[in-house]
């Protein structure tokens, strides 16, 4: 019964989009909000439909290597796409940086984080949330920044590690960690912070967080996959990307 319903639904979807194709896109969790908006514009402008899956880049890597049906990867780093290309799982020459992420020290409490990050030196907090630096580029960048600031030894005992920055955000948003490092895109929209207080870390404190996109093996020769990447480079998508606090 449920199968029939699903089949019917597929049929309806397929017939309604007669000339349009679908593209399966794996999207890094930090890019969730802009990707949704870009996908909506993409459908309006090209007729193609982008089917988005959100998750951790490391998990996508394992899934792609084991036959996941993704045609494009928007990664949270530049290493995973390069690695996939080297291993022949991505189409050579399609890789480019679609956004450069900015790291932010954020608290759900208004006025808690000052705009110089002095709150880190004062150290009057119990928990500092950080994405696992082994897994997440934003976690790695946070470690680099703390090292540059010579604060790593002082604050490391108070780390609570999240598996990705979506979970780091959750730890902070629920107040369980007073503050922590998240992506600017998670707490920023249209030129201002959505809630709480934050310090955008100067870009010189850490290696740039380059987020690369690449066409995967399953997307080779598919017009919709190529169209999606082209659209991502276009002005309309760029405006969305920067409105969420990414740099280009």
């Amino acid at each position: 019964m449920r199968l029939t319903a699903t089949a019917l639904l597929c049929l309806v979807c397929c017939t309604s989009a007669t000339h349009a194709d679908e593209v399966q896109v794996a999207v890094a969790a930090n890019f969730t909000a802009p990707a949704k908006q870009i996908a909506a514009d993409f459908e309006k402008d090209t007729g193609h439909q982008a089917m988005l899956s959100f998750g951790a880049t490391g998990k996508f890597y394992a899934q792609i290597r084991n036959g996941a049906p993704f045609e494009v990867l928007l990664a949270a780093d530049d290493e995973t796409p390069a690695r996939l290309e080297k291993e022949g799982a991505a189409v050579a020459g399609t890789r480019f940086t679609y956004a450069t992420g900015r790291l932010v020290l954020w608290s759900a409490k208004p006025g808690y984080v000052d705009d110089q990050g002095e709150v880190l030196k004062k150290g009057e907090f119990k928990h500092l949330a950080i994405a696992n630096p082994r897994l997440a580029s934003y976690g790695m960048a946070a470690m680099e920044a703390l090292t540059t600031l010579k604060l790593l030894d002082a604050v490391q005992p108070r780390f609570v590690q999240a598996e990705n920055i979506a979970q780091a955000y959750q730890f902070i948003a629920t107040g369980n960690a007073e503050l922590g490092f998240v992506a600017l895109s998670q707490v920023f929209k249209d030129g201002k912070f959505v809630e709480g207080s934050a310090w955008v870390l100067p870009a010189k404190l850490h290696q740039p967080i380059r987020q690369d996109a690449v066409i995967l093996d399953k997307g080779r020769g598919k017009p919709a996959a190529a169209a999606w990447l082209k659209y991502l480079r276009g002005d309309r998508a760029k405006a969305v990307i920067t409105s969420f606090g990414y740099e280009l």
């Binding site: 951790a56 490391g58 998990k59 890597y61 394992a62 119990k126 928990h127 949330a129 696992n132 082994r134 897994l135 780390f159 609570v160 590690q161 999240a162 598996e163 979970q167 959750q170 730890f171 629920t174 107040g175 369980n176 960690a177």
Partner: protein
């Protein structure tokens, strides 16, 4: 092979599972006793709450525990008022979560064992002038021994296998909340498949042996 961080995680996991199992036997036994014998209208709702963790995704439990134990949650307010601080990211936070999460695996076998005893042995004890508490410890508990053993094994093993809840409220802190299941996930995510195999393979072997022991034991009883 296994490095010191892996060994620390294994030790922490054993500590968590042991603490949880002991607490669950203490808390679960009266609940199981009550569920087995009551004719109250509340039997249904209480039994359903105990069984909830079987059907709920661990992410649901973890998410609500994170909110409940946080500074704005009821449990969080209570623990702060009581002076023990907030529970997420602490060992005792994991213990509390595990007690709830593994509850059905301890309560249900004990409850079934109590139900199987029936009224008669206890009535006989009462005619011999055993006080209710005396009858409970010298008649009901020994007769329900297989249920207690099943409960202990399942409670321990299920806590060892816990992942989603720990991920949501643990914070991955060495020696406090970084248990084996979370560490395996980390190894896999970091593409350290060799490291992951040692721990994951060990978990498979451990779980198989535990269940084998359990089935061997229960099989012998029923024969």
């Amino acid at each position: 092979m296994l490095n010191p961080a892996d060994l620390a995680a294994i030790w922490l996991t054993c500590k968590l599972a042991t603490t949880t199992t002991v607490l669950l036997l203490l808390i679960g036994t009266p609940i199981a006793w009550w569920l087995a014998r009551t004719r109250s209208w509340w039997k249904g709702p209480v039994g359903a709450v105990v069984a909830l963790p079987i059907v709920l995704p661990p992410t649901v439990l973890g998410f609500y525990l994170l909110l409940l134990m946080g500074p704005d949650g009821a449990v969080g307010r209570f623990t702060e008022w009581a002076g023990v601080g907030l529970l997420p990211f602490t060992f005792w936070g994991l213990v509390l979560a595990s007690v709830f999460y593994s509850m059905p695996f301890v309560v249900q076998p004990i409850q079934n064992a109590f139900e199987a005893i029936g009224e008669r042995p206890l009535e006989a004890a009462a005619t011999l002038r055993a006080a209710p508490l005396d009858a409970f410890f010298s008649v009901a508990v020994p007769l329900a021994r297989p249920g207690f053993i099943t409960a202990t094994i399942l409670g321990f093993a299920h806590t060892v296998g816990e992942f989603g809840v720990v991920l949501m409220i643990g914070g991955n802190i060495p020696d406090k909340t970084r248990v084996v299941s979370v560490l395996i996930y980390d190894h896999v995510e970091a593409l350290e498949y060799g490291q992951a195999h040692w721990l994951a393979g060990g978990m498979v072997a451990f779980s198989f042996l535990v269940l084998l022991a359990l089935y061997a034991f229960t099989g012998r009883k029923t024969r």
